[in-house]
């Protein structure tokens, strides 16, 4: 029942009926075409991410699911039901806003319990539900605090508890971690993942941070200019990007010009500029093979610098160290291979006893044809 273009591997959505079905969703703002035919299914219990640069339409899509924006064309189904015309307050979705939208004039408790106002349960039961929600996000004992006295991370947690207390079918998160500093962001990424496993609710996360999407998601939809460029699991996305644009957006990728020389028998022969001919498997060209000029991509960790005394392995090229960036656990080298124009980025772990090369040193670089990805 999916409407994803054929060429998209789309990962494997969890079994059972999808909780969200998007069918050819278009959105116009006057002349501006913000969403250009989005179709995909999101499974119940999935951690799903919408990833893309700013202005790609990911937030618009999220707000369309939440009910804050109407769909110009196409259908949005939640739990099998078309929600066209259903306002945000009648949808089984809840949202964590980028600004957290904590009500500043209420206490933490009143914020978390806000959605229970129309709940007919007795007061004591509701108070217990609020306490349970606060405990879930690690804020027990903060109930009486004034909301405006909270730190960024605490606001984030209150926003989560406030949305989850209504037990929505889908939790929508609009860049929920972008306002936090790095250490806190990493901690919240881990906590959010654990929370999602614990409550089992479908999470849809909007983010522009590819690392965040890779870390947290079961599946990721990469969006550019209102369309889904690739929908896949983090590992597929990293290892088998469909297009150069996706490859460039997810992690670091070195590109070299290449020409497809020969194809057949499940193998492709590629002439890579500066490195010569390589034989690769068909699955190393996830976007499909076409004869003629294209490019190949290498991830920095698939290239290896061979230190003094290490034996050659795989195919080896010679080059000069152009740039050294020491990260503590890793060192990133910019190495200009002989006969190759652009320096290539190579990442090496800083093992004990392994020295850090200096700029200007000559070095051997081992590369593996099995690691490259071909874009035609």
């Amino acid at each position: 029942m999916t409407l994803i273009p054929e060429k998209d591997p789309a990962g494997t959505p969890p079994a059972g009926r999808p909780i969200i079905e998007l069918r050819g969703v278009h959105k116009y703002y006057g002349d501006y075409h913000a969403l250009r035919g989005i179709s995909c299914d999101i499974g119940a219990g999935e951690f799903f991410s919408l990833l893309g640069p700013s202005g790609c339409g990911k937030t618009t899509l999220l707000r369309t699911i939440a009910g804050f924006e109407d769909v110009s064309e196409g259908e949005v189904l939640i739990d099998g039901r078309n929600v066209d015309g259903v306002p945000a307050n009648k949808r089984p979705t809840n949202m964590v806003f980028q600004s957290y939208a904590i009500f500043p004039h209420l206490t933490v408790e009143e914020n978390v319990g806000f959605g229970l106002r129309r709940d007919p349960r007795p007061r004591a039961e509701k108070a217990a539900a609020v306490a349970a929600a606060l405990e879930m996000v690690g804020l027990s004992g903060f109930g009486k605090r004034a909301a405006h006295a909270l730190s960024g991370g605490q606001r984030q947690r209150v926003a989560l508890a406030r949305a989850l207390i209504l037990k929505p079918k889908v939790l929508l998160l609009d860049e929920p971690l972008s306002a936090l500093d790095k250490k806190l962001r990493e901690q919240m990424q881990s906590e959010l993942r654990k929370l999602q496993r614990q409550v089992g609710i479908t999470f849809i996360l909007v983010t522009h941070d590819q690392e965040e999407a890779l870390i947290m998601s079961d599946r990721i939809a990469v969006m550019f200019e209102g369309v889904i460029a690739q929908l896949a699991s983090p590992q597929d996305l990293y290892r088998r990007p469909l297009t150069r644009q996706v490859a460039d957006f997810i992690g670091v990728m070195n590109f070299l010009p290449a020409t497809v020389a020969d194809e057949g028998g499940g193998q492709i022969a590629v002439d890579v500029a500066g490195l010569g001919r390589a034989r690769i498997a068909a699955e190393q060209c996830p976007g499909g093979v076409r004869a003629g000029a294209g490019s190949v991509g290498f991830r920095p960790e698939t290239l290896t610098i061979l230190f003094e005394g290490e034996a050659d392995r795989g195919r080896v090229a010679l080059g000069t160290v152009d740039e050294v960036t020491y990260y503590g656990d890793m060192t990133y080298y910019g190495v200009r291979l002989d006969g190759v124009g652009e320096p290539l980025t190579i990442s090496m772990r800083n093992l004990i006893g392994r020295r850090v090369l200096e700029r200007g040193e000559r070095t051997r670089v081992a590369w593996d044809p099995g690691a490259l990805v071909l874009f035609c």
Binding site: M95, F103, A149, R162
Partner: protein, 270 residues
């Protein structure tokens, strides 16, 4: 600014003291035991204040002024809420022109407003009462109310309203539960400003109040009688004291508004 600046600053401070001295002299003459407002002071008395308590016309003027000021404050603030909400939330054709037109009384001489209102009211045959003064005062207070409430709406994060809707509230209950409490400091500000402007306004009240004078109109009428001057001084002293109290209340609410919004106090009034 270290060298020349400090001399210039001293000059500015002196100038301010010189300008404000008259206001500080009010209490001196108010407690001076003489019908003539002149130095040297002759003795201490509270009889001018006592005289105020036994003047029914003054009491009626105070009552009129309060009724007019309270009504004006409420009406102007309600209109301000609608206009400011419309200005910040919706885009509609001719918006800039309409809002500019609403702001017109800010820059128009009050005497022109007063005269044109008077002409029209006399044409229609409306009797001049406190109600007509309220009309005039709403006209001049609404622009201030809009300006204050406009910034209150602008500083309100729209996602707060969206969050309330997302959590199951209707638009109306969202306005009551979220919008209204959060713009409350702006509403109080608007009420105080409108109240003060209405209470202090003279010329519109003079033309439109008919037989129901407001406090400034009453004071004006008393100035014809030199013997009433010490009592006016006493009245002025009371008004200065009340004004200081009003400023302190306004400052208190401003600080509370900042605290509630979680912001940082950047100092300064208004």
């Amino acid at each position: 600014m270290r060298g020349g600046g400090s001399g210039f600053r001293a000059y500015a401070v002196l100038y301010l003291i010189f300008l404000y001295a008259p206001i500080l002299l009010l209490p001196l003459f108010a407690f001076n035991d003489s019908t003539i407002i002149a130095f040297p002071l002759t003795g201490f008395t509270t009889r001018w204040f006592e005289e105020l308590t036994t003047t029914p016309a003054l009491h009626q003027a105070v009552r009129n002024s309060l009724i007019i000021a309270v009504s004006t404050a409420i009406l102007a603030t309600c209109l301000g809420i609608f206009a400011a909400r419309a200005a910040t939330r919706y885009a509609f054709p001719g918006k800039a022109g309409i809002i500019g037109f609403i702001m017109l009384p800010l820059v128009l001489p009050e005497i022109i407003v007063a005269v044109s209102l008077l002409v029209v009211l006399l044409q229609i045959g409306v009797k001049l009462t406190s109600f007509t003064v309220i009309m005039g005062h709403v006209l001049i207070c609404t622009p201030y109310a809009i300006a204050v409430l406009n910034s209150a709406f602008l500083s309100l994060d729209r996602s707060l309203e969206e969050a309330a809707v997302d959590l199951g509230e209707t638009r109306l209950s969202t306005f009551r539960l979220i919008t209204l409490p959060l713009i409350m400091p702006g509403i109080i500000s608007s009420l105080l400003i409108s109240f003060t402007i209405s209470l202090d306004e003279f010329i519109i009240a003079f033309f439109l109040s008919g037989t129901e004078p407001t406090l400034p109109v009453y004071i004006w009428s008393q100035l014809r009688f030199p013997t009433k001057l010490p009592a006016i001084m006493a009245l002025g002293t009371i008004l200065v004291a009340l004004s200081i109290l009003l400023l302190m209340i306004a400052e208190y609410f401003r600080r509370q508004g900042i605290r509630r919004a979680g912001g940082k106090d950047s100092g300064g009034f208004l």
